[in-house]
């Protein structure tokens, strides 16, 4: 029991240092404040211990003092708030070209699929120094993907995608925990993040049998007949999906929405929710006809259609000229 007695978690991601720095600052602030109060209380209790014949001195208060000890703490709190917000912004803004891994959580396991195609259960292999973005959804209840060594955590919800990202800095194996209570085997829903040197990672990757996720998606796209309406010319009954992902889309009710992973997913499961300008609401829903993994593959495929090759148009025929696209592909 005494052999392994850590008091501080390992730091293995780029953000871990930022989180720890803020934490240490808070430890110092809290420590100083605790010390101050403890010292005052103990000192006053001893120094002003009741002595026969020495009455207490009635002091009503002091407004300047009250203001001081309201304003100064508020100032310190705002510093902490801003610092925390800055770290949080970094944590929640995945870099543009991150490698993507799709994750489907279910009671009580993690199913992972790299964009390159490798499938894993309860384990995630990543190369050190590479930005990795996790696009996650749940098949059943709310879970949470937590890697203490990276200091990141994000709830995984049914019915939509949530995203988190990291860049690992140290090879090793790190705990993966489910951090949102999800039933009987909640404490069994654990795994490992295996961070490898790039060369080792390439070797591991080439051991995989399946092709990239987007290729799987392309197959499903044609098997389910999507290509019938979503043609790559302007003759289809549905919008051409070339270049749609990552750009604004004008809807027929005048709204403009951003085509992120959740938008693609919703368009498949609930096509009537947002009708693209100039098209009729004739697409039927695929709810119940596609699994979460198939959805992930389809989303990956649609995303691959936006990697514009030189000379090819990168705008959708149905979408009008729109304001400059928002940064990153944030899925909230």
């Amino acid at each position: 029991m005494f052999n392994n007695f850590p008091l501080w978690p390992e730091r293995a991601s780029t953000i871990a240092g930022n989180v720890d720095a803020l934490f240490i600052f808070l430890l110092i602030v809290a420590g100083m404040m605790t010390l101050l109060i403890f010292v005052c209380v103990i000192f006053f209790a001893a120094r002003f211990r009741h002595r026969a014949g020495v009455p207490a001195e009635q002091i009503d208060g002091s407004t300047p003092l009250e203001l001081t000890w309201s304003v100064i703490p508020m100032g310190v709190f705002m510093v902490i708030f801003v610092w925390g917000a800055v770290v949080y912004f970094k944590e929640r803004t995945p870099p543009r070209d991150a490698t993507e891994v799709y994750i489907v959580a279910k009671q009580w396991m993690w199913k992972l699929e790299h964009a390159e195609g490798q499938r894993e259960i309860n384990e995630l292999h990543v190369p050190v120094g590479r930005d990795v973005k996790l696009i996650m959804t749940s098949q059943d209840v709310i879970h949470s993907f937590y890697i203490p060594a990276f200091r990141i955590k994000q709830d995984v919800l049914p019915g939509r995608y949530t995203v988190e990202w990291f860049r690992a800095t140290k090879p090793g194996t790190y705990h993966l925990f489910c951090a949102e209570y999800c039933g009987t085997q909640h404490s069994g829903m654990v795994g490992s993040i295996v961070v490898m040197e790039p060369a080792q990672y390439e070797a591991w990757m080439s051991g995989g049998q399946t092709g990239p996720l987007s290729a799987t998606g392309e197959k499903i796209f044609s098997e389910l007949g999507c290509a019938t309406c979503h043609r790559s010319d302007t003759q289809g009954r549905g919008p051409n999906l070339q270049g749609v992902f990552g750009k604004p889309v004008l809807l027929e009710d005048g709204r403009t929405v951003f085509a992120d992973e959740n938008y693609i997913r919703e368009s498949i499961l609930d096509p009537g929710a947002k009708i693209v300008n100039g098209y009729k609401p004739v697409m039927s829903t695929f709810q119940g006809l596609v699994s979460e993994e198939q959805l992930n593959a389809l989303v990956a495929y649609v995303k691959s259609l936006s990697t514009a090759k030189p000379g090819e148009p990168s705008t959708n025929a149905g979408a009008s000229a729109a304001p400059p696209q928002a940064k990153g592909s944030q899925v909230n």
Partner: protein, 550 residues
């Protein structure tokens, strides 16, 4: 103050005025109702405590070897539900609040005595429903019963537990209603708002929260129950429902609820520190207004429980900033209490020791709240033992310490007996030590990454030693809680009879005999002095020693 003596030459008071179960079960005397509550919440405290003991025993070893995972999940759920809804939320208001609010303002009873009794019956009905639910299988959703797990993925008795909480919630609402109306309309002549004891200000603020917050969890429970029984789909993602809507509705109440749990305790601490420093509380108006500020701001911060739940970054920013503003009034109170001790005349009686404990533990608990409100840190520590440690520091280190301090302070008034001071000091020390040993290691465990609600941590055996410390502390804490149970009971028979005002404390309640007569005051008091008039009262008189108080 001539009152006729009872049969044994004992003065007539609210305890001996009538005997028999009907006189208790049909009473409308706020003091008797307070004692009815005392018995019932103590009962539920031990039930919740028993579950805690089992949890800590299980966590001694990494494997899930004492109980199965399903049982463990029920244990932490029931521990939470019982402790929150059937112990902490009622505790101080229903026991000390009921007993003291009318007396402190010079009234003969609360505004609605029959509604007060109804409150207690609703609490009992809710309690019986909860007991039945636990005995026939219990619930395994965590006390937070998040959807869609609670609506569509568990077979345990959600609806029954939910209805039990719903009924108990009404008890809470009616108590709050009674207090607000009483404080507004039944103050004795001369008892202006600025002369009210801070205990009253605290209960007033608490009652506002009870009134405005509790209905929201009530409707949330109704929706969850409806969804489970009628398959409605409001929270079901497959129908387009949003599980996050549940979380917003749930936390809209459950965050203010934590202020229901701490504000009354803060009121007690004000009374105790004033009395045992023999001075008016420093910054009276600031302390009074900070109670109101906490109540108001407390309604604006609920989504700080949801920073990683899937809300937008911008929402998270707003809630984080607001959460820091609610910390300021709490800090102001701690500073004012500390400043009260400056140039006071400090006595170390047991209530004051509990107040010291409160100051230390609430400070630590409150400061760790700053960690959690920092977005960047919260991502790492939310849903881990860091949060568990934080809220136990406030709820147990804060609220329960205050409650015990208050029980000791007013015990002579309530029972007419003195508790044994030596044992009380020992119990305070044991509770303080046991508490820190139980919960401080959990801060470390949380930052290390141990998630909450884990029956089994055999994948992370490196967490064991801190868990062992925590369990050891829990045993000590348990002893510390048993002691007052024992000696309070002992004192009812063998304790020295208490004088009217053993502490020479300020406050109208101390101007009545111990125990008080049924209608509190023979004549309606007329108040011409400020609160905490310790200058006139002077010190705790030396003949208090002769009375055996200390």
């Amino acid at each position: 103050m001539a009152t006729p003596n009872g049969p044994q030459g004992e003065r007539e008071n609210y305890l001996n005025k009538e005997y028999g179960p009907a006189s208790w079960l049909l009473t409308t005397d706020h003091k008797r109702i307070a004692l009815l509550y005392l018995l019932s919440i103590t009962f539920f405290f031990f039930i919740g405590g028993f579950f805690a003991l089992l949890i800590r025993l299980e966590l001694l070893t990494p494997a899930s070897d004492l109980v199965q995972a399903d049982t463990y999940n029920k244990l932490f759920t029931m521990h939470g539900m019982v402790m929150v809804f059937f112990f902490l939320i009622p505790s101080i208001p229903a026991v000390l609040g009921n007993f003291l609010v009318p007396m402190m303002i010079g009234a003969r009873d609360l505004a609605f005595p029959r509604i007060n009794l109804l409150s207690w019956y609703l609490y009992i009905i809710g309690g019986v429903m909860m007991l039945h639910c636990m005995l026939t299988g219990g619930v395994d959703t965590g006390w937070t019963f998040y959807t869609p797990f609670s609506t569509a993925f568990t077979n345990t008795k959600i609806v029954e537990a939910g209805l039990a909480v719903f009924v108990a919630g009404f008890s809470s609402i009616l108590t709050g209603l009674n207090f607000v109306v009483t404080i507004h309309r039944m103050r004795a002549p001369g008892m202006t708002w600025s002369r009210l004891p801070l205990f009253i200000w605290a209960h007033y603020a608490t009652s506002i929260i009870q009134l405005l917050g509790t209905p929201v969890i009530a409707i949330t429970i109704v929706l969850v129950a409806a969804e489970r029984t009628l398959h409605l789909g409001i929270f079901d993602p497959k129908l387009g429902g949003d599980p996050l809507l549940f979380q917003h509705l749930f936390w809209f109440y459950s965050h203010p609820a934590v202020y229901i749990m701490i504000l009354p305790s803060m009121g007690i601490v004000s009374e105790i520190i004033a009395c045992f420093s023999r001075k008016r509380i420093f910054g009276y108006s600031f302390v009074a207004l900070s109670s109101i500020a906490i109540a108001v701001f407390g309604f604006l911060v609920w989504a700080h429980h949801m920073f990683v739940a899937g809300i937008s970054i911008y929402a998270a920013l707003v809630f984080s900033m607001l959460s820091y503003s609610v910390a300021v009034p709490s800090a102001v109170k701690v500073f004012n209490w500390t400043a009260t001790m400056y140039k006071g005349s400090i006595h170390y009686d047991a209530p004051m020791l509990y107040a010291f404990g409160f100051l230390g533990l609430f400070t630590i608990g409150g400061l760790t709240g700053l960690f959690l409100a920092a977005l960047g840190i919260d991502v790492h520590v939310t849903d881990t033992y860091f949060v568990v440690a934080h809220f136990h520091y406030i709820m147990v280190g804060g609220a329960v310490m205050g409650y015990l301090g208050g029980m000791h302070f007013w015990w002579p008034k309530i029972s007419g007996r003195l508790y044994p001071e030596g044992w009380a000091k020992l119990a305070a020390l044991i509770v303080f030590i046991g508490f820190n040993l139980t919960f401080f290691p959990q801060f470390v465990l949380g930052y290390l990454g141990m998630p909450r609600r884990y029956a089994d941590y055999s994948h992370m055996p490196e967490f064991q030693i801190l868990n062992v410390f925590s369990t050891a502390g829990a045993t000590v804490l348990g002893v510390g809680y048993l002691l007052p149970m024992i000696y309070f009971l002992w004192s009812m028979r063998y304790g020295k009879p208490a004088p009217d005002n053993p502490w020479n404390a300020a406050g109208l309640e101390w101007k009545t005999p111990s125990p008080p007569p049924t209608f509190n005051f023979d004549e309606e008091p007329v108040v011409t002095w400020e609160a905490y008039n310790y200058e006139e009262l002077g010190d705790i008189p030396p003949n208090a020693e002769a009375a055996g108080v200390r």
